[in-house]
């Protein structure tokens, strides 16, 4: 079979020739983080350098399927939070964690080390005011040319959508928990 490998037909362009996108996955449906993971898989196939940071999610998430599989692909997904906020005793602590997390994220957005940076559940620290919305969006805008950034989470602030190149709303039509009381399952939700 003399097919041309797609990788040769559509090679990965040098970074300065790429159009770095800001992708926002928002909405009340499922698939926001999951779609970001799908991009991670695709990009990993092209040997792109990927950084994924998860706000809110705690280090308990490290045993989740996506962390294990990503590690196999040589990618570390870094949780920055302390679990979901409704479990939290102390909002001040969450705020502090978000700020500490941002100290890891900001240099990643500035460096030219990464092709794709995924900021999972970013909208919550923005909506709750734990991070300065304008500073975060400015930092994303100032990223090196050709770097793709993916932000996920419900209720994306209008400013973030305004700055985005691609924004998708995941809209819930049917949900196993709401309709049948089926809880989260390993391998599907986490």
């Amino acid at each position: 079979m003399n097919k041309i490998p797609l990788k040769e037909k559509y090679p990965l362009l040098p970074r300065e020739e790429r159009t770095g996108l800001l992708i926002v996955n928002t909405g009340n449906g499922k698939g926001k983080t999951t779609a970001a993971l799908g991009v991670l898989l695709r990009a990993a196939g092209y040997d792109m350098k990927i950084a994924m940071f998860q706000f809110i999610k705690s280090s308990a998430a490290l045993s989740n399927g996506e962390h294990i599989a990503a590690k196999e692909l040589g990618i570390n997904i870094i949780p920055l939070g302390d679990g979901f906020t409704w479990l939290s005793e102390n909002i001040e602590e969450d705020k502090k964690l978000a700020e500490e997390g941002w100290k890891l994220v900001a240099p990643a957005l500035q460096s030219d080390e990464y092709d794709v940076v995924i900021l999972d559940e970013l909208t919550y620290p923005l909506t709750f005011g734990w991070l300065d919305k304008n500073a975060v969006i400015q930092a994303i805008k100032n990223r090196p040319k050709g770097m793709h950034v993916i932000a996920t989470g419900r209720n994306a602030p209008p400013e973030l959508i305004e700055a985005a190149d691609l924004a998708t709303e995941m809209h819930l039509i049917k949900h196993p928990f709401r309709e049948k009381g089926i809880g989260a399952q390993a391998g599907i939700e986490l």
């Binding site: 097919k3 928002t26 698939g31 799908g38 280090s59 989740n64 005793e89 602590e93 998708t168 986490l190």
Partner: protein, 219 residues
């Protein structure tokens, strides 16, 4: 509490000291301690096999299915992914390369984009025989998760018998998850599903800024 401790950022990738938060050594609430035990992979007969549909005009339908593939693979589940429409010629996209590294093969069943085709004879027979392959994969119970990518378009065109699909789905082995993607899922399919998400366009790089599909992001 020791104020010195407050300034120390513990490496978030290290597991927490049991019952203690990574910062400030504070007690963390009980539910979190329980989480890892609750969310282990159950034996197949105790699972709730879901029919998941990702539909809508927006991006993220196939991509979210790929995310599930990644998750499930991490949980050592067997994943089978079949792509209608997509042809063997383009079967070396990023997702194929990365999935192969994880030991998952994504099987293309189509002849490429059908958008500009006028003669659908070939596409119809490909869809039909493709469905037979998928049907067998669902019935065999070999896979924990079966992804039918871009499945909805051939169904809506009437190339595959919807009643056959519904009965195959409802009689599938217990605990098998089936993920279906594609635009414009019909009422009948939605009726048969447990989880349906519509991906809606808010902003699209091609339509809004003329930015075309890019390697690593779209393919």
């Amino acid at each position: 509490m020791n104020s010195e401790n407050d300034d120390v950022r513990v490496d978030p990738t290290t597991p927490p000291v049991e019952g203690r938060s990574v910062i400030g050594n504070k007690k963390i609430p009980v539910p979190k301690k329980k989480q890892p035990r609750t969310y282990r992979v159950l034996p197949r007969d105790q699972r709730n096999g879901l029919v998941i549909i990702n539909t809508g005009d927006g991006k993220g339908k196939t991509t979210a299915a790929l995310g599930l593939l990644l998750r499930a693979t991490g949980r050592k589940m067997a994943v089978g992914m079949f792509q209608f429409i997509k042809s063997i010629k383009v079967a070396e996209c990023g997702e194929h390369l990365a999935a192969a590294r994880l030991g998952v093969s994504i099987v293309p069943l189509g002849a490429g984009c059908t958008l500009h085709h006028t003669d659908h004879t070939d596409n119809r027979s490909r869809a039909k025989s493709g469905w037979e392959i998928c049907k067998k994969a669902i019935q065999d119970g070999e896979f924990d998760i079966i992804i039918l990518d871009e499945f909805i378009s051939p169904v809506n065109r009437g190339w595959i018998d919807i009643n056959d699909i519904i009965s195959t789905l409802s009689s599938r082995p217990k605990g098998t998850h089936v993920v279906i993607t594609g635009r414009a899922a019909s009422e009948q399919l939605i009726e048969a599903a447990d989880l349906v998400t519509e991906m809606k366009v808010i902003k699209h790089p091609l339509h809004d800024s003329g930015i075309k599909a890019q390697v690593g992001i779209d393919v």
